[in-house]
């Protein structure tokens, strides 16, 4: 089963160092000559978009992880009227397929009042479109649904006595969150961060409809643009896929321990 999963990736590596002729005429054969120059060629074309994607994903993940853990703490440990109803609404958001809300979402960002030249009715300008905010705000807000659910469940399963003890020690709610809940939540925060980073970095649909400006293009947009513009150059195209995967590999390499830990703890503690 592992081979079925890994074979396409190995094939991508193979195709990234073969000339286009070889790819077309002898798809499965090993390369006659290894073309490392395709990587340099691809890097020149996509490096800025990788930077954009990595920055967008990193900033979004930091903020959404922080907000998710804070909201998770509030839902888990603070009583307020309507708490369960609000939580139920958040849960319900998970059930709505993203594609259904794509057009309303697009219009919402485009016609956001007083932003990007819009008047108070949201007319006359481009709103958040074609700015980094259209990505950041969307990912931070959207990614929180799963984050809040995971963090709430995790914090609810921490012993109540820890929070009682901190309260007697003299901590305010904010200090309890910062000094007790946040450090103890690191495994689940790592899980949320990795899942979100991968999702944001790989997202194609949202940048496609909201970003036009070449300097703001994300990796997924840029690489598909390259494919359509250079339909005959398969080597650099596959090389760009490999290069584009490197940030994800780095994130996994550093976060894997916490990721697995978080998932395991989640499964044990419900």
């Amino acid at each position: 089963m592992a081979m079925i999963t890994i074979a396409p990736f190995l094939m991508t590596i193979l195709l990234s160092v073969k000339s286009s002729d070889e790819v077309i005429h002898d798809f499965w054969a090993p390369p006659e000559e290894i073309r490392w120059d395709f990587f340099a060629q691809a890097l020149g074309f996509i490096q800025h978009s990788i930077f954009n994607s990595a920055i967008t994903a990193s900033v979004s993940v930091i903020l959404l992880a922080f907000l998710s853990s804070l909201s998770g703490y509030v839902f888990a440990r603070i009583q307020f009227p309507g708490k369960e109803l609000i939580y139920l609404l958040i849960l319900a958001l998970m059930m709505v397929p993203g594609i259904l809300t794509l057009i309303p979402m697009f219009l919402w960002y485009k016609q956001f009042p007083f932003v990007g030249g819009n008047d108070w009715l949201g007319q006359g300008g481009h709103g958040f479109l074609n700015t980094p905010w259209v990505l950041l705000v969307h990912y931070i807000a959207g990614g929180q649904v799963l984050g809040i659910i995971l963090c709430r469940t995790y914090i609810e399963n921490l012993p109540q006595s820890l929070f009682d003890s901190a309260r007697i020690d003299g901590a305010s709610e904010l200090q309890i969150y910062r000094s007790i809940a946040l450090p103890l939540c690191l495994p689940v925060i790592a899980t949320v961060s990795i899942l979100s980073f991968v999702g944001i970095y790989n997202d194609y649909m949202w940048p496609l409809i909201t970003i036009d400006a070449p300097n703001l293009q994300t990796f997924t947009l840029r690489v598909t643009q390259y494919s359509s513009e250079h339909a005959q150059e398969h080597g650099p195209e596959f090389a760009s896929y490999i290069i584009g995967s490197i940030p994800l590999i780095i994130v996994f390499a550093f976060g894997m321990k916490y990721y697995v830990n978080g998932i395991t703890k989640g499964s044990i503690k419900g």
């Binding site: 009682d164 309260r167 003299g170």
Partner: protein, 377 residues
């Protein structure tokens, strides 16, 4: 002054879903004296932990007042009550070292670094934790964790210490030694301590006074020996003591010119216990009425042979025996009750053997089965 006064204290949990409203604490009054070691003891669900949590400010009060010293603290935040609490599961912050755990409360109260260091050092040396200050809780044994939890409480030098079943998670041996350490600590700190436990041995050995609770009400508050020797009611008699007091249900009857306790009104082959002068005085007005005769296991003597039995001897059948080493618990069947006697370890009794007992009636008690109270002069 750090006395704690509970006046008409109540806690009712409102109805939630299918669960009806539940009154966990029912208007209790209790005064814990300055520097006293008060133990709240009772079975699970009796309201002892709820009471402690209300004193700590972790649970809202439904009715009544709590005063620490002269100040009513009903609406005071836990951090401003000048209390410290040791929890059953230690509640150590797992991501902090022992030092940071102990210093956490002081840092939040903006103590100077030198002061924090001095206080933590002092507490650590008092509890033998000097070599463990850099360790995380997971690298400590249960007993060490408990000492850190106690250390975290004492560094703040609070007016009142609260302990919520702190020894429950320790093994039997560790429990005995930690019990002694906490008692010693109480003497050296000279502070007011309120200690919740369901273990009556802890209650008897540690408390200056014991408050026995049941179903949200206080059953009796007194010194350990007074509670043991003069239980206020049937619940206390049956709860304090291991094994507990034998409680025989029957009536007061007249046999000749003497009053006797007649087990089960004579309808079955019940035993008859002649009442001595003191018990007769107590039972005088209850001839023909139902009564409960209570006697501690150590006040039942085994007579060596039936021939040696005086007129007041009581026949019984040996059910089984539990040799404990220093003593033996002998379970006996009388007319309709099962009794337990505490006898010297040398006694050997085979099951189903007929034997004769003598009750030391001068140490027995009579209870009213309706009011459940002990009958006193």
């Amino acid at each position: 002054m750090s006395e704690v006064t509970l006046s008409n204290l109540s806690k009712t949990y409102p109805a939630a879903g299918k669960n009806p409203a539940f009154q966990a604490v029912k208007g209790i009054d209790l005064q814990i004296r300055d520097r006293e070691f008060m133990v709240l003891v009772g079975p699970s669900g009796c309201g002892k932990s709820t009471t402690l949590r209300m004193i700590a400010g972790l649970e809202e009060i439904t009715d009544g007042t709590i005063a620490i010293g002269e100040t009513v603290v009903n609406n005071t935040l836990p951090k401003d009550r000048d209390i410290a609490m040791v929890f059953q599961n230690y509640a150590l912050y797992p991501h902090m070292t022992v030092y940071d755990n102990m210093a956490f409360g002081l840092k939040l109260r903006k103590y100077k670094k030198d002061e924090i260091k001095a206080r933590v050092g002092e507490a650590a040396s008092m509890l033998g934790l000097q070599d463990m200050l850099d360790r995380k809780p997971k690298a400590l044994s249960g007993g060490q964790r408990q000492r850190v939890a106690v250390g975290r409480a004492i560094v703040r030098k609070p007016k009142v210490f609260l302990f919520d079943e702190p020894l429950s998670n320790l093994d039997a041996k560790m429990r005995v030694s930690t019990r002694a350490e906490i008692s010693k600590l109480h003497k050296s700190l000279d502070a007011t301590m309120i200690y919740v436990t369901h273990d009556q041995v802890e209650a008897m050995t540690m408390g200056d006074r014991i408050c026995i609770m049941n179903a949200g009400e206080i059953m009796q508050v007194d010194t350990p020996l007074a509670v043991y020797n003069e239980p206020a009611n049937l619940f206390v008699a049956g709860f304090i003591g291991s094994p507990p007091m034998n409680l025989l249900y029957g009536t007061v009857a007249k046999s000749g010119d003497q009053l006797v306790f007649q087990e089960n009104d004579g309808q079955t082959a019940g035993i008859q216990v002649p009442l001595d002068a003191r018990l007769s005085r107590l039972a005088q007005k209850r001839i023909g009425s139902e009564i409960v005769f209570g006697i501690r296991p150590e006040h039942i003597k085994m007579l060596s042979s039936p021939q040696a039995a005086p007129a007041a001897s009581i026949p019984a059948i040996v059910d089984n025996s539990e040799p404990m080493g220093s003593e033996t618990f002998l379970y006996l069947l009388t007319g309709s009750h099962k009794l337990v006697a505490r006898i010297p370890p040398t006694g050997r009794f085979e099951p189903d053997t007929a034997t004769q007992l003598a009750f030391e009636t001068e140490k027995a008690h009579l209870f009213d089965p309706q009011s459940q109270e002990r009958i006193t002069e």
